[in-house]
Subunit: 87 residues, 2 copies
């Protein structure tokens, strides 16, 4: 396979990744609403630690655990921002 | 649905997201090898711009375009790092 073939493959994967990120974001919005209705804090460090532990555990490679964690830390920052935007 | 139900849903989505990130990373490794064999640069700003444009275009929400871009900038940083690790 040539570079352009791998890039087409990446573009297809990106479409699926964006779909899943959107579904994850929609679930985060629902959690944000439930928390708001109970005046519960948006930021829950233990839950975020559990998420990181989970994604590191299911990671088959070639990304290292630290690299998956790096991506997920940004992802959770963005999800928290989204929850705060939508009361 | 309760918070715990949404969290179970998120955990399922995360397993799928990590699988797709891993497939994307494997494709990036292949591209890195092809580039290395041609002494081509790993960092290609125009390709990265195209990836951002693509993911913003296919994003259905509730994440904003800027939020999807934010996640993808981290993701591409990590993928570039991975390509440099594996000559």
């Amino acid at each position: 396979m040539e570079i352009s073939d791998w890039r087409n493959r990446i573009d297809e994967l990106d479409e699926q990744i964006v779909q899943l990120l959107s579904q994850r974001a929609a679930a985060a919005v629902e959690i944000g609403r439930l928390k708001q209705s109970r005046s519960a804090p948006i930021y829950e460090p233990q839950r975020e630690k559990d998420v990181i532990e989970h994604v590191r555990k299911v990671n088959p490679g070639p990304l290292s655990g630290a690299q998956v964690q790096d991506i997920y830390e940004r992802l959770m920052d963005v999800m928290r921002e989204l929850q705060r935007q939508r009361p």
